[in-house]
Symmetry: C2
Subunit: 311 residues, 2 copies
Amino acid sequence: MSLLVVGSVAFDAVETPFGKREKMLGGSATHFSLAASFFTNVRVVGVVGEDFGQAESEVFNKRGIDTTDIERIEAGKTFFWRGRYEYDLNTAHTLDTQLNVFADFKPKLSDAAKKARLVFLGNIQPDLQREVREQVKDAELVALDTMNYWIGSVRDSVIKTIRGVDVVIINDAEARQLTDEASLIRAARKILSWGLRALVIKRGEYGAALFTKDAYFALPAYPLEAVFDPTGAGDTFAGGFMGYLASQKEFDEAAMRRAMVFGSVMASFNVEEFGTERVARLNYDEINARFRAFKQITHFDDAPFDVIAAV
Amino acid sequence: MSLLVVGSVAFDAVETPFGKREKMLGGSATHFSLAASFFTNVRVVGVVGEDFGQAESEVFNKRGIDTTDIERIEAGKTFFWRGRYEYDLNTAHTLDTQLNVFADFKPKLSDAAKKARLVFLGNIQPDLQREVREQVKDAELVALDTMNYWIGSVRDSVIKTIRGVDVVIINDAEARQLTDEASLIRAARKILSWGLRALVIKRGEYGAALFTKDAYFALPAYPLEAVFDPTGAGDTFAGGFMGYLASQKEFDEAAMRRAMVFGSVMASFNVEEFGTERVARLNYDEINARFRAFKQITHFDDAPFDVIAAV
């Protein structure tokens, strides 16, 4: 088993300036696992209710994602989120959240799940993230995501959990909130000092940055004329990042940088259509074409200024 | 003569969280010409008052900048601006603006100035920019900057002026305001369609992007732990960009991309200290070391995903 993800499987109702969907498959573990499935074997630990049917299972099955560890509670309903994006698409306005079966979610890992080589702890209560982390002692790389809600309410637990993982993948506002630092670079250095191998900062339309002990890497976002639905972009990025790493023998700086690009590639596709629609039908030619586009977008000649040669 | 800049020469009073200066040399033409002077010969067209003394002239002279076309009005005072930056340093709060001799500024170009190979029209009234543009008919490349004030008050004149130049260098908010487009990519395409060879969008701490008819290039900002004083960063970027281009025989895509990097290099130094202090004493080793750092920061292997080789 290569990559394990623990997180939410949900139904989303989303309205953007481009249209709306009343009920579509969503959740952090869903977006993550779909993106990662192009690069490695993925297993999901999560919980759903009786309303989670064959059509939803099919989305996972078609991508070969192992859903054995998705618990199904017949007496309950699946986590539901309703949100609306305004004109600029940067901020989601939550209109309704029904935790349902997710309210009592206690991740249960099968023996197979405990043998995962890489683990992604999606955005759930940090104590639960730590419980999962303690069950995957042999994992070579464990990453986590978190959010402003947990940082604001149980910050100490968030930091304690971070101290037990290898990689943190969060957005810039969360990094600043977590450290009380206005400077993102200073915030990043502080978070790294909690014992991480790497810190990934997602910056939405501005791209993403990778901080390691000795290096800094920054990548712009793919230039899309229109973002159709940003829901799940962050988890899709993490899925591409972790999925690609799982395909590699070593998690060195070079591999992490390529993983940043594949994360950005997958996220750029995710926002082109509603929910999981675009990523679910991606193929390798499309993925690699966009990888090459990122190379084009960022390339410049390694030619420092030569006073003598100047006109 | 290689590069001509028309713009403000000013005194600034600036307060940042790190300290304050009551009167220091500033202005768009000052920051621009200092940065450009490392790459080419620069001539400034501007106006100053009787308070502009030997110490200020020395800053230009030391960098070999030709100030013959800076008009000196003995009965007047130099343009003065007072501003304060808050904790996050992203927004300047203007506390006082005294246009003084700048209020009646009518750029006067000497014969030598009219022969410039490249011209930068700094942020002045767009009708004046157009008057200057018409006097440099043989220039190979003319670029301009503008600002929210002109876009809001004389938008048609701004657009008319843009239609007469080759390159526009503005920030992302100005691009959106100019086109009424929320999507930066769409805004950029629209501005490009007004007949430009290239559009440069400055994004502050997120770097800068270059739009040409067939390509897109994006570069992150240099990762500074602390921005000391952002005053003049945009003009310093433009100075590095245009100065480097002036050192090149051709203004092709590759040269423009390297110019983007040198612009970013110079801007990153500018914000490390107050006003012109850091750039005024730069040397080529420092400039090229930071150019190489940008290459490090943005590099990743050109290695698309290989399903067969995956672990």
